[in-house]
């Protein structure tokens, strides 16, 4: 059979048009989610694309690209849920992190710790997992950046309870880390506040608040306070900074005498931050992408690791976690 070159090009064009390139529609959905900074959704869509096209180099590259950030996303969501007493949700999210990286030591340790310390709360979630597999993990309510950007109702601080204090992960329990978190700065003289949680949600019940909020002590601007600190294990503090969302400060006294100022965000998405020790700018961080970390030195000389947990470019809002180096 003789086929003209024109017909052949037409046929190939039609195949590409209808079949989609690389991983098909899931790949396109993943790309779109990645462009919007919803990297966990991007990861899920890329995985669906890989199910259809496991041999596609484009899909494989996309999964390899977003997997570390998606794991970081679920890790931070797990810690946030934990800090609010939503232990079952926290377990599910840590399991999602493990599904992405089965060798994730932090998540492995965290899941086992949750299972040993809150067996009654975890048991139903675990039973669901054994019965339904990955599907059961999707029921966890994540705290999303959309919630932050959308001006969700402010969630009041609640004082930490003794039992919550004992729940801190090994890292947070480390006296050196604790000392480092306080350092010699004036922050050391302030009480270490727990991540904020909605009233009534600290009783360990597994029902997250309907209004999404961030798990950090986002002290209202009017108080002029810069005491935003989380003590949830991997991170000594979690802060939200924003240029456009008036609920959040653009600059915070982050830890150990170091102030962090948000310069801006980009659609990539990445963020630019400046670090100050007193009035002196000590570090410029540029184009730091979600899930990526940078080291910085506190006023006491101790080193810390700053990780971008999420970025909402539309409102120029970023959430950062600070942990020991």
């Amino acid at each position: 059979m003789i086929v003209s070159r024109g017909s052949m090009f037409g046929l190939v064009g039609a195949m590409v048009f209808f079949g989609g390139c690389a991983g098909g529609r899931y790949y396109r959905m993943g790309s779109e989610a990645e462009r919007q900074g919803k990297v966990h959704l991007a990861y899920e869509n890329y995985c669906k694309a890989a199910a259809e096209h496991p041999e596609s180099g484009t899909v494989v590259a996309a999964i390899k690209r977003v997997a570390p950030t998606a794991a970081t996303y679920w890790e931070s969501e797990a810690l946030i849920a934990w800090s609010r007493g939503r232990h079952a949700d926290s377990w599910r999210m840590a399991m999602r992190c493990l599904k992405i990286r089965p060798d994730h030591q932090g998540a492995l340790h965290f899941v086992r710790k949750l299972e040993s310390e809150h067996p009654d709360e975890i048991k139903p979630a675990k039973r669901e997992w054994l019965a339904q597999g990955g599907r059961s993990l999707e029921t966890a309510k994540a705290v999303t950046m959309e919630g932050i950007a959308g001006g969700a109702g402010e969630v009041p601080d609640t004082a930490s309870t003794a039992s919550e204090g004992s729940e801190a992960l090994a890292l947070a329990d480390d006296p050196q880390s604790r000392e480092g978190a306080s350092g010699d700065s004036d922050q050391a003289k302030r009480p270490v506040t727990r991540p904020q949680s909605k009233s009534g949600s600290t009783n360990g019940a597994d029902h997250g608040p309907s209004a999404p909020a961030i798990a950090q002590t986002a002290t209202p601007k009017k108080t002029g306070s810069d005491r935003e600190q989380a003590e949830d294990g991997a991170f000594l503090a979690i802060h939200t900074l924003s240029k456009d969302n008036k609920k959040y400060e653009r600059e915070v006294l982050a830890i150990d005498g170091i102030r962090i100022r948000l310069r801006d965000t980009d659609g990539d998405p990445d963020t630019d931050l400046d670090l100050y020790d007193g009035k002196r700018r000590t570090q410029k961080i540029r184009d730091l992408k979600m899930g990526r970390s940078k080291m910085f030195r506190g006023h006491s000389g101790r080193w810390y690791r700053l990780t971008v947990l999420s970025i909402h470019h539309k409102s120029e809002t970023v959430r950062i976690g600070i942990g020991p180096a």
């Binding site: 890989a50 997997a67 990286r101 086992r112 597999g133 990955g134």
Partner: protein, 275 residues
């Protein structure tokens, strides 16, 4: 004269160097290579006619921090994959050689972990060898990569010789197992590498209890990030071994993501379970 003197010096120096090298070689041959005699040990059986995956499996384990010995057990007749699959894989004599090696390793060190890993038809050798172990001899964990043994293969006898867990990777994308007519263990039915091991019908309580340590690891699309596309030998890639397999065997506690064959069976009774 000066030239002669100089050349004699050189020959003396060369002779000394040769002697030194000879001494070093003798010392090495007397003491053996650097691999220790005790400590953790992994026995690996490659697939039929496929003799090149040991390197990447070893690299994956090493990458995850495994410092023990890694011994490739050669079970092939080197007459091609068909001969290996149909003859050597089900030879009790060949498997017995592996049993002896495992028994020796256990006798030398009663406490250190022993891992046994097989690929494809090599998994039939692994299972047969474990079944033939002397009473009381146990290995720690067993990994079966793309097992070409029957899904209905009764693992009860083998599990008596396994302290920890038995993992089997499965994949619907495994084209080689899809085309398989007879399994390497001689049994019919679907290969375990396609559908996973199944609890035997009329399983006793002991068998059910034993199968709580049998974990099928189905391929997941996210594994493409670890160079595993679900193909027959892709599970032996170093990154997959390091990320998915090593955390399951190098730690004492079961991995949180593990769901045993019995768990899956119970799940089938409730809402539709996802692997």
């Amino acid at each position: 004269m000066t030239f002669l003197h100089h050349s004699r010096d050189l020959s003396v120096a060369g002779g000394r160097r040769s002697l030194w090298l000879l001494g070093l070689a003798l010392t090495l041959s007397a003491t053996g290579c650097s691999e220790p005699k005790s400590g953790a040990v992994t026995f690996y059986c490659d697939g039929a006619g496929w003799y090149s995956s040991a390197g990447s499996v070893k690299a994956g384990l090493r990458g995850a921090g495994y410092e023990g010995r890694f011994q490739t057990f050669s079970w092939s007749a080197f007459l091609g994959p068909a001969h290996d699959h149909f003859v050597n894989a089900r030879s009790r004599l060949v498997a017995r050689r592996l049993s002896r090696k495992i028994e020796d390793a256990r006798a030398q060190d009663t406490n250190s972990p022993i891992y046994v890993i097989g690929l494809s038809a090599g998994t039939a050798v692994v299972l047969s060898a474990i079944e033939q172990l002397r009473e009381g001899v146990q290995v720690d964990h067993v990994i079966l990569f793309s097992p070409s043994v029957a899904a209905k293969h009764d693992l009860t006898k083998a599990l008596r010789h396994i302290r920890g867990r038995l993992y089997a990777t499965t994949s619907p994308n495994d084209g080689i197992l899809a085309a398989l007519v007879i399994n390497a263990d001689g049994l019919g039915g679907s290969p375990a590498g396609r559908v996973g091991f199944r609890l035997p019908t009329k399983a006793t309580k002991d068998t059910q209890a034993a199968y709580r340590r049998v974990i099928n690891l189905p391929w997941h699309p996210s594994y493409v990030a670890f160079d595993c596309d679900g193909g027959h030998t892709s599970v032996t890639h170093a990154e997959y071994v390091k990320t998915v397999i090593a955390p399951r065997i190098l730690q004492l506690a079961p991995h949180p993501l593990d769901r045993s064959v019995v768990d899956n069976l119970l799940a089938a009774g409730s809402a539709g379970g996802e692997p």
